[in-house]
């Protein structure tokens, strides 16, 4: 017969076993001191070595900046991060696959203890994204704080007729506008011919297509704008070549800072400011859908800092961080605005290049390699030289999806490393990734 106290303790134990949310207590370096069952359920599929000894180690591949966030959190106690989404794999899942998106909160209890709360956010994030789009759409429609240009475009994205609102917002006059693609409102490398059509297709499929970013006036100056495209008739009501769309361009420069801050906190890697895994997978999946509809050149480059561990071990963590930030800046300078540049984890980066062939991507990657090798990073007066290796792959019919495309580029990267680093290799049927079996296990 159990005493009342033992019975209560047992009930408490089982309560923690059954809690449908992950609860952990760790030390400041991530070492797990207490952990409940839901945490193990969510984390075991991510653990490379089959251990759950350190939270930062387990999440290293998918949330590389956790330790950095904790270290740079100065208050003695408080929320280090609140329901941050960690993208584990691409897309959404069904059944009992492992969670694709985790929600993680870290609470600093005192100078030695962290409390972590972990949940599976895969479904709620998918719902949120849809909701966010609807809200953005409603915002655009109903809030008339700033001026907007309203125009109609045909099935090729050409402006059908001019009206004064176009000149007010963009400065373009009638003869410069009529019959020309709405790409004129984007800076030079901001949108490509195929993307102009993609947005029309997406508007057909979803009822609208919305994007926010730099726009360009007739005099070449830029403003932060949003473009909303909506079909003027239902998809079934007209022949494709007769389809007409409304395009609303709004100057939202005044909201840019607030929007950017929000965007950054959700979509950007904490350390480098590049897109994070979640943002990358979302953008890349959209790009692959576009490819599926209208195949066109689409390439992917994975980039890895060579001997990065040596940099960390020799010069320390702060220097390692400085090198990663330097590499991130190099990536931004080398690739185009339309390319999706992201930090995948640790010292591994990825770039998706729309409308770019394997050879084209290889050439840009070569340029990156050379520019990185050519200069030293200055870290508090110490010059540090490092190199990068890159693997390139191009999307083609035999590639099943984003995962498979990344695997190909990874295999090419592996080959570049094996050949002595500081170089670019392209995927070809002969390139085999000896570690691929181990990596996917």
């Amino acid at each position: 017969m159990l005493s009342e106290q033992e019975d209560e303790f047992e009930a408490l134990t089982q309560f923690l076993y059954m809690a449908p949310i992950g609860l952990m207590q760790t030390r400041m370096d991530g070492e797990i001191v207490m952990i409940n069952a839901a945490s193990a359920q969510l984390l075991m599929p991510l653990s490379r070595d089959g251990e759950l000894a350190n939270l930062f180690t387990v999440l290293e591949d998918v949330a590389p900046d956790l330790e950095h966030r904790v270290r740079s959190f100065e208050p003695r106690h408080g929320m280090v991060c609140d329901s941050v989404h960690v993208q584990v794999g691409p897309g959404t899942s069904g059944g009992r696959k492992n969670a694709q998106i985790l929600s993680l909160s870290l609470l600093k209890l005192d100078s030695e203890r962290l409390m972590a709360v972990l949940g599976d956010a895969t479904e709620s994030v998918t719902r949120d994204r849809e909701l966010r789009q609807s809200q953005a759409w409603i915002n655009i429609i109903v809030t008339g704080i700033t001026d907007y240009a309203l125009l109609s475009v045909d099935d090729q994205g050409r402006v059908q007729s001019w009206n004064p609102s176009i000149a007010r917002v963009t400065g373009f006059e009638a003869d410069a506008t009529q019959g020309r693609s709405y790409a004129m409102f984007y800076p030079n490398d901001g949108i490509m011919a195929q993307r102009v059509l993609d947005r029309l297709h997406e508007a057909d499929a979803n009822g609208w297509s919305l994007d926010e970013g730099w726009r360009q006036r007739a005099d070449g100056t830029r403003f932060w704008g949003s473009c909303l495209i909506a079909p003027l008739q239902g998809v079934d009501e007209s022949k494709p070549e007769e389809r007409v769309y409304s395009l609303i361009i709004r100057d939202i420069s005044d909201r840019r800072e607030a929007n950017e801050a929000l965007r950054r906190s959700v979509l950007c890697d904490h350390l480098t400011g590049l897109a994070n895994r979640g943002a990358f997978f979302e953008a890349a999946e959209l790009e692959l859908q576009r490819w599926g509809r209208v195949p066109r050149p689409l390439s992917l480059v994975v980039i890895d800092a060579d001997h990065f561990k040596v940099v960390n071990d020799t010069y320390g963590h702060a220097a390692g961080d400085a090198v990663l930030r330097h590499l991130a800046a190099g990536l931004v300078a080398t690739f185009r605005t339309v390319d999706v540049v992201a930090r995948l984890g640790g010292e591994e980066f990825v770039v998706l290049l729309p409308d770019t062939t394997l050879e084209g991507a290889e050439a840009v990657a070569e340029r990156l390699c050379q520019s990185i090798a050519a200069v030293a990073v200055d870290v508090d007066g110490t010059p540090i030289r490092y190199t990068v290796s890159a693997g390139v792959a191009e999307m083609e019919a035999g590639v099943s999806g984003l995962d498979a495309l990344i695997k190909r580029a990874d295999a090419a990267l592996y080959s570049a490393k094996a050949k002595g680093r500081d170089r670019v290799e392209c995927w070809s049927a002969g390139v085999v990734h000896p570690a691929s079996a181990a990596q996917t296990a």
């Binding site: 047992e10 076993y17 797990i32 952990i35 193990a40 251990e51 000894a53 009992r96």
Partner: protein
């Protein structure tokens, strides 16, 4: 333990033994034993496992394994493998490294997952001397 173990954790015929073992037989083993039916309801639970988990038999027997007793195994590494084996009508005998969270402590163990067509009870064996 005063009795000599009748069967070891990695014995080839352990499933056959467990299926016919009495509760006393299971209690004499030096590894944890959880047996559950096709619906996932726990039917067998030995004393060692009960002690290590801090859960008494009456809290466990008759309850669903993957929600009440060991939710940490409710993923594709463990639960899915039993479902896959049942769906394809094949036998399952796999030993995997795992981390249990009994009493909120991470503990490295070896799990042996056992199921066979014609044997109603499926078993998870837990070896703590991993």
């Amino acid at each position: 333990m005063t009795t000599v173990q009748a069967v070891s954790f990695d014995d080839k015929t352990v499933l056959k033994y467990l299926d016919q073992a009495t509760d006393a037989d299971l209690d004499a083993l030096e590894f944890g034993v959880i047996g559950f039916d096709p619906e996932g309801v726990v039917r067998r639970y030995n004393t060692l496992e009960s002690t290590m988990a801090g859960l008494s038999l009456q809290r466990v027997i008759g309850n669903p394994l993957f929600t009440v007793v060991a939710p940490c195994m409710n993923n594709y590494l463990v639960a899915q493998r039993f479902e896959d084996a049942a769906a394809s009508g094949s036998a399952l005998d796999a030993t995997i490294d795992y981390v249990l969270t009994l009493r909120m402590r991470p503990l490295k163990v070896k799990l042996r997952l056992l199921a066979a067509p014609g044997v109603t009870t499926r078993f998870v064996l837990i070896n703590r001397r991993a």
